[in-house]
């Protein structure tokens, strides 16, 4: 029987990403090729021109800041002119430019890349890890996004998946995935809170679970609060201590700063399980004017870290309280509280959450893995058609039209299952109004300009009448693919105008195809380069053996044919020449030739050269 196609769930995070699958009925995380569960969501082009993804890219982020892209998730699917992008620009070290359609482009190694292209590089890496795990191609995935992502951001995430060669079966909300991982679709009916404190963001969501249907009733947070803030507090403390002792500011040296960052993160993680950790950074800097390099040694305790970051912990509680307040949910109403994200391991955070909710939060052994596990469960359920676990595709945000006074009238509330349709009748707002403008909006704010404008059109030729006397039917239709069509009809004359709005991730279909072609070419080139590298290693090993055998043959020449030594010398010379090139086939021939010479030098019979 043919094996079923492997399916994966991906948590594409701001700071780290994880891939998981369901194996023998159990959701499991797939470790990356360096044996880690987490792959940093960082992409870089090193100074030697090599594309780097994951931990290796992260480890050179500070020494190569202009060519290292991190936190692309803050930018995906957004307009360049939007507030969140303009806010993010203040903190990013890499260059971000405006694309042709007010979309965001990232400048990397002299090329302007669309954000989905950057995210696709991370997805490609996770896909490759999954393929290494299964030993066969993987092409289908469920990807998670924050609950507050709008259609454009979701579509851009889908585009990233497509560029990476993945068919995105579904985009699901991160808190929903976390709840699924805990099996709450089956075991809980009622409200649950999900507090996700990751590397760069703090998201709080309240879900209503009802017979396996998950409804996001409130979501909020701080997109600039996460583990990195704790790291920075540790770095400041280390830098201050070193400056006091040696009078040197380590932040001015990129290499020192990179090491401080790595050490701070490591120390922070360790302090979740031990009470004290040693930070040891030998040869951290050379004093100005020369001399022996200095070492940084410090003992960091959990108490000290809590002292350094007390305000950050309080912010987490403040944000949680705010989101629950907005949703008018009291902590006592919650059936469960789930802690998600690596930073939620910190004992102080767990304690504060416990105090606030007055209950023990659910926290698995690996809180950073639960979202990916939930995504994997959903991918499995989608294909296995496990009805009770199947999440319905819903509208992530409300859809409506702008009305007089600058307000919004919602026709389709958020979390409505698609396909769906809704019609409402409107009337003219002025006397003798001959034209109405239908502005299609997405969002939850009551004021029109605070929502996202998806499209607009005019319905003209209305009869001359006092205000309120001309009635117009506005109909919203959303099909299974999430494409929204909006029509407006004059009830009296039957005159009709319409618009079709498809969620756009910022890329046109043509651009998407071009990027996909480029990615395919890159993958082919990368594979060829890997082959060249492997052949070079083969050549080096064989050439070393031939050199050794030649030495012995010259010292003890007996028994060898007269042309064996010159032939081997010639083969070595040829190998040297071929090694300098980039041609794998020529290298393979040179390897075969050397192998033949080696056999002869060792006294064996000459063999036919494979392929030559």
């Amino acid at each position: 029987m043919a094996e079923s196609e492997p399916l994966i769930g991906i948590d594409l995070g701001t700071t780290n990403s994880i891939v998981a699958t369901v194996q023998d009925g159990q959701p499991v995380v797939i470790k990356n090729r360096t044996g880690q569960a987490l792959t940093p969501s960082v992409v870089a082009v090193a100074k030697n021109g090599k594309r780097l993804v994951g931990s290796i890219a992260k480890r050179q982020a500070i020494t190569n800041p202009q060519e290292t892209v991190y936190a692309a998730k803050r930018l995906i699917g957004r307009k360049f002119s939007s507030h969140p992008v303009q806010d993010a620009l203040r903190t990013l070290a890499y260059q971000v430019v405006c694309g042709q359609h007010d979309d965001v482009r990232v400048r990397l190694a002299g090329r302007d890349l669309a954000v989905p292209e950057v995210s696709a590089m991370i997805l490609q890496e996770l896909k490759a890890d999954a393929e290494a795990h299964f030993g066969r191609p993987v092409s289908k995935a469920v990807i998670t996004v924050p609950a507050y992502f709008n259609d454009g951001q979701r579509q851009a995430t889908k585009d990233a998946g497509r560029i990476a060669g993945l068919e995105v079966l579904r985009i699901i909300n991160e808190p929903t995935a976390a709840a699924l991982a805990y099996g709450f679709g089956r075991t809980v009916n009622g409200k649950i809170a999900v507090l996700d404190l990751g590397g760069g963001t703090c998201d709080v969501s309240v879900l209503e679970v009802n017979n396996g249907v998950f409804d996001v009733v409130a979501t909020g947070g701080d997109t600039f609060l996460g583990g990195e803030d704790w790291d920075n507090r540790i770095i400041e403390w280390l830098v201050f201590g070193f400056a006091k002792e040696h009078g040197i500011d380590l932040r001015k040296d990129r290499m020192a700063l990179q090491r401080l960052k790595d050490a701070a993160e490591k120390g922070k993680v360790e302090l979740s399980s031990v009470r004290e950790t040693q930070v040891s950074l030998p040869f951290i800097c050379t004093p100005p004017g020369g001399g022996a390099a200095l070492h940084l040694q410090a003992a960091l305790t959990r108490d000290k870290l809590e002292d350094l970051s007390a305000d950050l912990c309080e912010r987490v509680v403040g944000i949680t309280s705010e989101v629950l307040g907005e949703a008018k949910v009291r902590p006592s109403e919650l059936k469960e509280v789930i802690l998600v994200g690596g930073m939620s391991r910190m004992p102080r955070i767990v304690e504060q959450v416990r105090q606030y909710f007055r209950r023990e939060p659910c926290k698995g052994v690996h809180p950073e893995e639960v979202v990916a596990l939930g995504a994997a469960i959903q991918a499995h359920a989608l294909v296995a058609q496990q009805g009770e676990l199947l999440l319905l595709d819903v509208t992530p945000q409300s859809l409506g039209v702008a009305i007089a006074g600058g307000y919004v009238r919602r026709l389709i509330p958020k979390n409505t299952t698609v396909p769906t349709s809704a019609t409402e009748t409107f009337a003219t707002s002025k006397d003798s109004q001959r034209v109405v403008k239908i502005m299609v909006l997405q969002g939850e704010h009551d004021l029109a300009h605070q929502n996202e404008l998806l499209g607009e059109f005019l319905l003209t030729g209305l009869r001359d009448a006092p205000r309120g006397k001309v009635e117009i039917d506005v109909t919203f239709d959303i099909n299974a693919e999430g494409i929204v069509s909006v029509s407006a009809k004059d009830r009296e004359t039957g005159q009709r105008q319409s618009i079709i709005v498809a969620a756009s991730g910022g890329l046109t279909e043509e651009e998407l195809r071009r990027i996909m072609d480029e990615q395919r070419d890159w993958l082919v080139a990368a594979r060829a380069s890997e082959e060249v590298k492997a052949r070079r290693v083969e050549l080096d090993t064989l050439a070393r053996d031939v050199v050794d055998a030649l030495t012995r043959a010259r010292l003890l020449p007996g028994g060898l044919g007269p042309d064996v030594v010159p032939r081997a010398e010639q083969a070595l010379e040829h190998a040297r020449h071929v090694r300098a090139g980039e041609e794998p086939a020529a290298m393979a021939r040179a390897v075969a030739l050397l192998a033949q010479c080696l056999t002869q030098l060792r006294g064996g019979p000459p063999r036919a050269t494979p392929g030559g």
Binding site: K50, I56, Q60, T63, P282, A293, L550
Partner: protein, 256 residues
């Protein structure tokens, strides 16, 4: 001050030894001993070098005529003896030589001039015969003929500072850097291998490394390959290769 000068000569000698110029290194250790006969480090290094050179000579004597095909780009393969771990360490970038050492117009003299220049001595920059650029280029060519690519690269870097647009400098530097990188990479072996740190943290702090070597050493955690280290060091390939070769030579790291 003779002790200080002798120490500088020892550092420079170690530098030359790394670049394959054992004769030059021996000359400097000898000079260091002339200046400071009690310099134990110079004496030990000289003894090591002499025993190694002796072993090489013996090996060569036993082999008869020079072997064809054992020199050139294959670099480390052709070495008769590999450097032993446990040698005293050195700092590649800190090569300073005192006044008045080295034969006139040889590489060492030019390196010494570099030192004097830092002390404020005015220099003549130009392209004609006898100009500093010309002297540097001739010195680099001499060193290249002696297969001392490391010394040549240092001189050519100086020359390029003086004449950034000079194509001859560019070509020579490119050639010598490529050869030097190939030699150092050959010393590292398969660049896909993952090196490991051999020493315990308590022993590491007693090494004599600069902050750049410290940075590279800190990245070696048993998960990254030599190839990865080239990417994440943030330094040029040559500088990274030099540091890795140094760490390997001194037995601080081992190839996985």
């Amino acid at each position: 001050m003779p002790q200080h000068r002798a120490n500088q000569l020892v550092e420079a000698g170690l530098w030359l030894r790394l670049s394959g110029d054992s004769d030059g290194a021996a000359r400097l250790f000898d000079r260091a001993l002339q200046l400071d006969p009690d310099n134990g480090r110079a004496r030990d290094l000289m003894a090591q070098l002499q025993s190694r050179l002796g072993a090489t000579d013996d090996a060569r004597a036993g082999e008869g005529p020079p072997l064809a095909g054992l020199e050139g780009d294959w670099g480390a393969w052709a070495e008769v003896t590999a450097p032993e771990p446990g040698d005293p360490l050195f700092v590649p970038d800190a090569v300073l030589l005192p006044d008045g050492v080295g034969a006139p117009k040889d590489a060492l003299d030019l390196l010494a001039r570099d030192h004097r220049r830092h002390e404020g001595e005015p220099v003549r920059v130009g392209r004609g015969p006898g100009s500093e650029l010309d002297v540097l280029l001739r010195g680099a060519e001499d060193l290249l003929e002696l297969d001392d690519h490391s010394g040549a690269v240092d001189l050519l870097r100086r020359a390029q500072e003086l004449a950034p647009e000079e194509p001859r400098v560019e070509a020579l530097r490119d050639r010598s850097e490529r050869t030097l990188i190939a030699m150092l990479e050959a010393k590292l072996g398969d660049l896909g291998h993952v090196p490991r740190v051999r020493l315990r943290p308590d022993d590491i702090i007693w090494l004599n490394l600069d902050h750049r070597a410290g940075f590279v050493l800190a990245q070696i955690d048993g998960t990254v390959s030599y190839d990865d280290l080239f990417s994440l060091s943030g330094m040029t390939r040559l500088d990274t290769a030099r540091i890795l070769a140094q760490l390997l030579d001194e037995g601080v790291i081992v190839a996985g």
